[in-house]
Amino acid sequence: MRKGQYRFVAGFLLVPVALYLIFVIWPYIQTFGYSLTDWKGQSQTFSFVGLDNYTALFQDDVFMDAIWHNILFLVFIPVITILLALFFAFMLNAGGRSRAGGVTGVAGSKFYKIIYFFPQVLSLAIMAVLFGAVYRSDSGGMLNGFLVKLGLVDANDPVEWLNEPNMVLWALILVVVWHGVGFYLVLFSAAMQSIPKDIYEAALIDGAGRAQSFFRITLPLLWDSVQTAWVYLGIVAMDMFILVSTMTTPGGEFGGGPDHASEVMSTVMMRNFLIYGKSGYACAMGVVMLLLTLILSVVMLRATRRERVEF
């Protein structure tokens, strides 16, 4: 019996562990090793070069700029998305024509949620095509067409949303926000609904207004969800590969233009790997991305740590 049980456990673990080891863990480990070599990928031979790849990396202007762009995404994508999602979630749950200090949802809040959430089930590839069309740099693009109609933009001199170095990053942020707000709205909204109503009623008796009950009750009790949202949006901001590589003009293969103004770490890495064949160098970039992700998570968890409120 006992022996049979061990055989059962081993049998159940065999395939999942094997797959996981071969395709996930082993490549992760190998990356560290390869990042110390001058491996070119195509050739089977390579030699140990120590930290050369890392020193080269910090002198690589394109990569260093890419890090800054990622950091910009890291700051603005979570802030804008979370603020909008909180705002709309609050409107949905407390904007109702209600009495007791804002605990009633607006009519049709279910309907709104269905619409808001929908972009989340669409792939970023679809986002790329959709917003490629929205941002078209003539009056055939939705944004330019709209602005021309309003007379704000000259039809012969439309806005080059994706070709202006100081506009392209914001254009990309807008896509991510558009895609993500609904998801976090539903997340926050579910958390808001789980807050017991008698807390609001108690606050109301004590004379709290809507704003006060939002900042003093709702927000502190939502803090866990906000933290989760921040971590997930942080991961999105560190990636950005698909949008940058497909929507921006090629500074090389995999987008990043104009003139590397929208380059992110992932596009630089993929270009070095798949186009230039610099596998060792690309591995070093992967390691840097990991380190930044880890630093980000630690900083985020520390900075947003609050006393946990049980209810």
């Binding site: 490549p27 709309f88 007791a100 669409l122 792939s123 790997f273 992967g286």
Partner: protein
């Protein structure tokens, strides 16, 4: 000051607003303003979501000249020809490839993920905790960290640009999350049922498949939805792993890759309606699935994030 509270209980209906005592008038006025205000904002955001999508779908019925002309021209080419053209231009194949891959990768992910999660959650053996953390740790790392060696690993297995290669990689990369979530779920299941089943003489394997797995159905649905959407929308892994390896190696692009491919080709041959029709085709199954399982999708995705 107890009046407003009593009202909440006593007047649940909007229509009875007028009959309320005058005392609550001030608060009600504030409520009405906020209500109009919030409906305004909510409606604007809803429009901002719907209009671009609708605009894109309508654009597939435009001609190239119309698309380049004005964004708000009404489509003039009401023929479903463009969808046939998009389907034949590759969308059909890309669609089929995605379906083939997911038909295997999602069930296998769920099977292997639940198997591992189950023994980790319910059996005590040496190294159990360690193995659990080993699985869960994978969720922490960006996929980019593994890409280069992963490519050469799949190459060595001779599985580049094959369905089985992509399927195995999808299954492996879905493990951390699936194990994590199902582990938590199996822990909540009652022990009594398990013991009864063993006492009745069922083997451990049989107990798992016929007793425990059916009980875990709600969890399986949540993770299943999460994995299906995640794998359906995956882009980076297929971009690296599904490139034709030689001249006579056929393209086996998945849908996301194919759409991007179609978009990039627009630089050379302008047939934008086909691109938009392709996106429309790609959106339809998502829309159908989403509208029919709307509650489960929202619950599945958000609870998956929170756990």
């Amino acid at each position: 000051m107890s009046a407003p509270i009593k009202e909440t209980a006593a007047i649940p209906d909007q229509r009875s607003v007028d009959k309320r005592p005058a005392r609550a008038g001030e608060r009600r006025g504030e409520g009405v303003v906020l209500n109009a205000f919030s409906h305004g904002f909510l409606a604007v955001w809803a429009l901002l979501i719907v209009l671009p999508l609708l605009w894109l779908v309508l654009s597939s019925f435009k001609t190239d000249a119309q698309i380049a002309g004005s964004a708000f021209g009404w489509p003039g080419n009401w023929s479903f020809d463009v969808f046939t053209r998009a389907w034949e231009k590759g969308i059909g194949d890309y669609f089929l490839n995605t379906v083939i891959v997911l038909a295997f990768s999602v069930p296998l992910t769920m099977l292997f993920g639940s198997m591992a999660a189950y023994v980790l959650a319910r059996y005590e053996f040496w190294g159990n905790r360690l193995l659990y953390y080993f699985f869960v740790a994978g969720a922490m790392f960006p996929v980019f960290l593994a890409l280069v060696p992963l490519f050469f690993m799949v190459k060595r297995l001779d599985m580049l640009n094959t369905y089985q290669g992509l399927i195995l990689v999808y299954v492996a990369y879905s493990m951390p999350f699936t194990v994590f979530f199902m582990h938590a779920f199996f822990r909540t299941l009652p022990t009594a049922v398990f013991e009864a089943s063993i006492l009745d003489g069922a083997s451990h394997t049989r107990t798992f498949f016929q007793v425990m797995l059916p009980m875990a159905k709600p969890g399986l649905i949540s993770v299943g939805i999460f994995n299906t959407l995640g794998q359906w929308n995956q882009f980076i892994l297929p971009t690296v792993l599904m490139q034709p390896q030689s001249g006579d190696d056929p393209e086996r692009y998945v849908l996301t890759q194919g759409l991007i491919q179609l978009q990039q080709q627009q630089g050379y041959a302008t047939d934008l309606p086909v691109l938009f029709a392709g996106v429309t085709i790609a959106m339809i199954p998502m829309l159908v699935v989403y509208l029919s399982f709307q509650r489960q999708v929202q619950a599945g995705l958000t609870s998956a994030t929170l756990k």
